[in-house]
C-alpha cells in the first residue's frame, strides 16, 4: 500500500470514527447572550470634559496669535 492509499485509508477510518457535522442548526438567537457580554465587558468610552476642550482651544489660540510664546511654553514643560 503506497503513501496516498495509506492516507486515504486513514481518512476513511477517521471519518468513521469522527463523523462530519451535518446541518447543525443554531436553535436559539444568541443576541441576548451577546448583549450580556457587551454589558459585562463594556468598553469604557473615553470622555473628554468640555473644560479640557476649552482650555485646549484657548491655548491653541494664544500660540497661534503669539508664536513667541511657544519657546516659553516648551521651557515651562
Amino acid at each position: 500500500m503506497n503513501n496516498e492509499e495509506n492516507a486515504d485509508h486513514l481518512k476513511a477510518l477517521l471519518k468513521q470514527a469522527i463523523s462530519p457535522v451535518k446541518d447543525a442548526e443554531l436553535h436559539r438567537d444568541l443576541w441576548p447572550q451577546m448583549l450580556g457580554k457587551l454589558d459585562e465587558q463594556a468598553v469604557p468610552v473615553k470622555h473628554v470634559p468640555w473644560l479640557d476642550w476649552t482650555l485646549a482651544a484657548i491655548l491653541s489660540a494664544v500660540l497661534f496669535l503669539f508664536p513667541g510664546a511657544i519657546p516659553v511654553l516648551l521651557y515651562q514643560l
Partner: protein, 175 residues
C-alpha cells in the same frame, strides 16, 4: 450610510443587524471545529465580541463574511489550544450513521483518542480537511495561511496520526 460603514463607525444597531445575519453561519463553522453545541454557542458570542472590539479596524469595502470566519477560526483555535478536547460528537448532534461492522467500536475509540492527542493547529486543519472535507482554499482563507501550508499541515497530521495509531494498535494503522 451603508450597514458596514455604520458598523465600522461603531454603530451598535448595525452590529446587531450583522450579528443576526451571520450568527448561524459563524456558529456552524465553529461547531464543525469544536464539535460541541454549548461551546460553539459560547465561541460564537466570543467571536462577535472580538468583531465588535475590532470594528474600527474593519474596512467597509471589505468582506465581512471572510473576516468574521477568520476571527471565528481564531476563537475556535484558542479553545482547542487551551486543552479542551471535544472530538466526540454529543448524541444530539446530527451525524452520519456508522455501522459497527465497518470499524469496531474499540478501533473508533482508539482513532478518536489518537486524533485528540494531535496538537491544536494540526487537529484544526485535519478536522476541516479530512473530516468535514472543506476545500483547502477555504481553510487557508479562514486561517490566514497559504494553501500550501494547509496541505503541509494535513500531511503532517496524517503522519502523526498514523504514528500514534501504530503505537496504540499496529493493526489499525497498517490495515
Amino acid at each position: 450610510m451603508e450597514l458596514l460603514e455604520r458598523f465600522a463607525a461603531g454603530d451598535l444597531e448595525a452590529f446587531e443587524a450583522l450579528f443576526r445575519d451571520h450568527q448561524k453561519e459563524v456558529y456552524f463553522w465553529i461547531v464543525r471545529i469544536v464539535r460541541d453545541h454549548g461551546i460553539a454557542e459560547d465561541l460564537t458570542v466570543e467571536t462577535f465580541w472580538r468583531i465588535y472590539k475590532s470594528s474600527a479596524r474593519f474596512k467597509p469595502d471589505g468582506n465581512f463574511r471572510a473576516w468574521s470566519r477568520r476571527i471565528a477560526t481564531n476563537a475556535a483555535f484558542d479553545h482547542l489550544r487551551s486543552g479542551h478536547l471535544e472530538t466526540e460528537l454529543p448524541e444530539d448532534l446530527p451525524s452520519q450513521e456508522v455501522s459497527d461492522s465497518a470499524v469496531c467500536r474499540e478501533t473508533r475509540a482508539r482513532i478518536r483518542d489518537a486524533f485528540a492527542q494531535l496538537p491544536a493547529k494540526y487537529r484544526l486543519v485535519a478536522t476541516l480537511a479530512l473530516i468535514e472535507e472543506e476545500p483547502y482554499n477555504s481553510i487557508a482563507e479562514a486561517l490566514g495561511i497559504s494553501v500550501a501550508l494547509v496541505k503541509i499541515r494535513v500531511f503532517r497530521a496524517v503522519r502523526m496520526l498514523r504514528r500514534k495509531l501504530s503505537s496504540l494498535a499496529p493493526e489499525v494503522a497498517t490495515k
